[in-house]
């Protein structure tokens, strides 16, 4: 979408970097593995010191002692702690994350079901955030120190400062109840909940696949509010970073040269400067995307949005440890992946860190 003008040396630098990355691929994979096992271990330990009895979640409060003991044994909770962990890890290696107590489904299946909901929300939020945040940041940079800059800054800081659960409640109050601009909590009107077979799990996509425009617009009217609220946060971050990247670019010599050559200011800003900013900006966008994918727990709670954040929280509060562990691994994987990506990009761009 954007023409990227890069100095010639960039390509060579990248080639060098990637060959080195290739050489240490084993090391990276190894360290990833360690991080994962650490992640699992920490989650596992938290689960075991949690003052909630996991058997209770499975059998309920009224079950007889005999049933209780039998289920405890079935769940492997009578083994020593290290053995439980070992059993768990070896199952995970075989692709078995166990069964969730709360849903009676394999955890992997649950995650496949809930993750698209979060993904859809985070993706839309990021798209809105980028489409509003990048121009806002550019605008602020061009007008540095003038009122547009201040306005963007204040809007951005306000975004950072807003308790999201409160904003969500207020949003529902105003846009759903009073103005009737959007639909309420949930991904679809309650009546439609089982109309759509989840093909991709993304409601906007699935409704289009089935060609049902009524349902599509219904889904849009449901997602738009929570997505906008989440977007506000990524918008704040993206605008701020765009501004500072742009300022750096605009003070570069090649911009001056371009101006001397008589290239139009619009072209300089939107094509040349913004073009050069795109790569670090992608890192920033990726990070904010990963943050949203982490499951914006509170937004999901307020909007009854059946996503990953809600799933993990619910499981945690019910000591459904297989579900918590599985969910955390997914979140961790996404986060570590994006982190590594931004690391690589960072190394590529900041020569200081390369020594």
């Amino acid at each position: 979408m954007f023409a990227v003008t890069r100095k010639a040396s960039d390509g060579r630098k990248r080639a060098r970097l990637f060959s080195r990355t290739g050489a240490s691929l084993v090391r990276i994979v190894f360290s990833l593995l360690i991080t994962f096992i650490g992640l699992l271990l920490v989650t596992f330990l938290i689960g075991r010191v949690l003052p909630i009895d996991p058997v209770l979640a499975a059998v309920g409060d009224h079950a007889s002692e005999q049933v209780y003991q039998r289920v405890k044994e079935e769940m492997g909770l009578n083994l020593p702690l290290w053995q439980q962990f070992f059993v768990y890890i070896s199952n995970v290696v075989q692709g078995d994350f166990g069964t969730s107590v709360l849903t009676s489904n394999p955890v992997l299946e649950d995650i496949k079901r809930v993750f698209p909901a979060t993904l859809e929300l985070a993706t839309l939020a990021t798209i809105i955030g980028v489409f509003l945040g990048v121009p806002a940041g550019v605008f602020a940079a061009i007008n540095k120190g003038k009122w547009p800059d201040h306005i963007v800054r204040i809007i951005g800081l306000a975004g950072y400062s807003m308790p999201i659960f409160w904003l969500g409640l207020m949003g529902l109050l105003v846009f759903y109840l009073k103005l009737d601009w959007v639909a309420g909590p949930g991904r679809l009107d309650a009546f439609y909940v089982d109309f759509i077979e989840p093909t991709t799990g993304l409601m906007l996509v699935d409704t289009l696949i089935e060609g049902d425009m009524d349902l599509f617009w219904n889904a849009v009217s449901h997602i738009i509010l929570p997505a906008s609220i989440l977007a506000y946060f990524s918008l704040a971050y993206i605008a701020r970073m765009t501004r500072s990247f742009m300022l750096e670019q605009l003070s570069q010599e090649y911009i001056l040269t371009a101006r001397v050559k008589g290239i139009s200011e619009t072209r300089i800003i939107w094509r040349h400067a913004l073009g050069n900013v795109m790569v670090p900006l992608v890192t920033v966008i990726a990070l904010s995307y990963a943050n949203l994918l982490e499951g914006s727990v509170l937004t999901e709670i307020i909007f009854a949005w059946p996503g990953l954040g809600l799933y993990i929280t619910n499981s945690l509060l019910n000591a459904d440890m297989n579900a918590v562990l599985g969910g955390t691994v997914v979140v961790g994987a996404v986060f570590i992946g994006v982190n590594m990506l931004s690391d690589v990009l960072y190394r590529l761009l900041d020569p200081r860190a390369r020594r």
């Binding site: 005999q66 009676s104 309420g184 909940v193 738009i224 939107w270 709670i301 009854a304 059946p306």
Partner: protein
């Protein structure tokens, strides 16, 4: 660049175009918001959760039912009639003709026998309800059997009060499952347990359409139901945890019924002419469990004083606002032998003098494990305030439901504020937990509420055991009244309220039935204007 702008415009358009939600739900479908995240299995042999029982109550037929307005009236459902042998040991049921499962199979005595056997063999949470009658995995196939297509025979091990046995069959374990269908899905001899957790094999007025855990449950009408097809062709239950969200959805007309409104929301929807309320006294009791391991709480004067330190009236009127009524004995109103007098009321002076008698005129400090839901927390805070008037410093320890319960079950609490729902409609269900504790040691095998609070009810344990063998209804009721009075006087329970369930619904919804327990909440009679 142009594309970017196009995207921007689209984004803004999406964000600002008014998209009015559908104003009304379809006439032949019932849409309900209900906190159903406790739904963990759809198998009648394994379920114990309110939402699960309600599901089973609408999708499975049970052997026996009772009249929602007069629990003492028992009538046959799958069992058309029954008789009890002279010696009280053999129950013979005649199975109704012409009931078909959703699969098309005929329902026979064989299915009924299999269903009951299955509960005992699988030995999951609710199995003890049948286990009380001496059924074990070894003997159940002999003692519960179909002698022909229409006859089910059940042999119990002692001459129990017939009402006791019959009430137990009205519970979720009495649901009849489709033997053929279940066994088709059997894996490694599990009697279909794995499959049944998420699937359906019943004959009730509604059939399962789809369950998405944590999200929604939808049912479709059984057009061939033997007792008449329901008017609602679909029932959609959407899991909405937030009571405030439920209110929003209801007022906007996105749902027909909101099931979990809290007191203040109820107060505010009362003014809405489009919404009406339906309430029904439930069997659940709100109570405080006082651990007798605590040096202060083990003093009889303190226990009595605390019963005078609850603002019963204030809480029912303001905090619960109609969702509870004062009730202090362990059997809820409507049960056989229920004692409906409430001898205690808020009396700070009386409590102070009792505390002084116990040598605690200056009060003491104690903790209370409290579920962090609005209703419980508000109750706890009101109690905190009234106790402070008598010099008792109550520290509230909030926690999630499972968390506080774990502590309670491990006897690690001082005070637990809880809600106890009966397992079936017979008085024994509550007597055997509030007034029965055969072994008060830490590693006891039975762990009733009396045990959790480290209380030894003495002779009462034996009296409870005797009451289930009393075949004379009136004498039996008298025994329970006596037990309730004793627990009221000396027990470590400050029983405060009996729950009232309130469903808020749109004005065009009629004939929803709420029963004394969740498995008697019926959708099948619902109509919409």
């Amino acid at each position: 660049m142009r594309r970017l702008i196009a995207g921007l415009v689209l984004g803004t358009a999406l964000a600002t175009t008014p998209m009015a939600a559908q104003a009304e739900t379809p006439k032949n479908a019932l849409v309900m918001a209900f906190a159903i995240d406790d739904l963990i299995t759809l198998d009648p042999a394994g379920m114990f959760e309110f939402s699960a029982l309600e599901y089973a109550g609408n999708t499975y037929d049970r052997l026996i039912g009772f009249d929602n307005d007069d629990v003492s009236k028992i009538y046959g459902v799958v069992a058309e009639s029954w008789n009890v042998s002279e010696d009280g040991l053999t129950f013979t049921f005649k199975i109704r003709d012409g009931i078909k499962f959703a699969s098309g199979n005929d329902l026979t005595a064989e299915d009924a026998a299999f269903s009951l056997q299955r509960v005992v063999l699988l030995d999951q949470s609710p199995a003890f309800i049948l286990g009380q009658f001496g059924f074990t995995a070894d003997n159940v196939k002999d003692r519960i059997r179909a002698t022909d297509e229409n006859t089910l025979v059940m042999e119990v091990d002692q001459p129990y009060a017939p009402s006791f046995v019959l009430y137990c069959l009205t519970a979720g374990v009495g649901a009849v499952v489709d033997k053929e269908l279940v066994l088709e899905h059997e894996k490694d001899g599990d009697l279909g347990a794995e499959w049944m957790k998420t699937n359906y094999a019943g004959s009730g007025p509604f059939a399962l359409n789809k369950w998405t855990p944590g999200e929604s449950l939808s049912l479709t009408a059984n057009e061939d139901y033997w007792d008449g097809a329901p008017a609602m062709k679909r029932v959609i239950i959407r899991n909405v945890k937030e009571a405030a969200s439920q209110q929003l959805l209801l007022q906007k007309g996105d749902i027909d019924i909101a099931r979990n409104l809290e007191a203040d929301q109820l107060a505010s929807v009362k003014g809405d002419e489009n919404i009406k309320l339906l309430s029904k006294g439930k069997g659940a009791l709100w109570y405080l469990g006082l651990s007798q391991k605590n040096e202060f709480l083990s003093k009889p004067e303190v226990r009595e004083a605390l019963k005078y330190l609850v603002d019963y009236e204030g809480i029912t009127q303001t905090i619960m606002a109609g969702r509870a009524q004062t009730h202090q004995a362990f059997l809820p109103e409507g049960f056989l032998g229920a004692y409906n007098e409430n001898p205690y009321s808020l009396d700070v002076e009386k409590a102070k003098s009792l505390l002084a008698d116990a040598g605690l005129a200056d009060g003491f400090k104690v903790t209370m494990d409290t579920r962090n839901t609005t209703a419980v927390m508000s109750m706890a805070q009101s109690i905190q305030a009234t106790w402070a008037q008598a010099g008792i410093n109550l520290e509230i320890i909030p926690g999630d439901n499972k968390q506080t319960l774990t502590k309670y079950r491990a006897r690690q609490h001082d005070i637990y504020i809880g809600r106890w729902g009966p397992d079936y409609q017979d008085p024994h269900t509550n007597a055997s937990t509030f007034a029965w504790n055969p072994d008060n040691s830490d590693d006891a095998s039975a762990k009733p509420l009396a045990w959790r609070n480290s209380w030894n009810p003495g002779d009462m344990t034996a009296e409870v055991d005797k009451a289930i063998l009393e075949r004379d209804g009136e004498k039996r009721a008298a025994m329970y009244v006596d037990l309730q009075k004793k627990v009221l006087e000396s027990g470590p329970f400050v029983i405060m309220f009996q729950e009232t369930e309130i469903a808020a619904m749109r004005g065009n919804v009629n004939n929803l039935v709420l029963g004394p327990s969740f498995d008697n909440n019926y959708y099948r009679f619902v109509t919409k204007d």
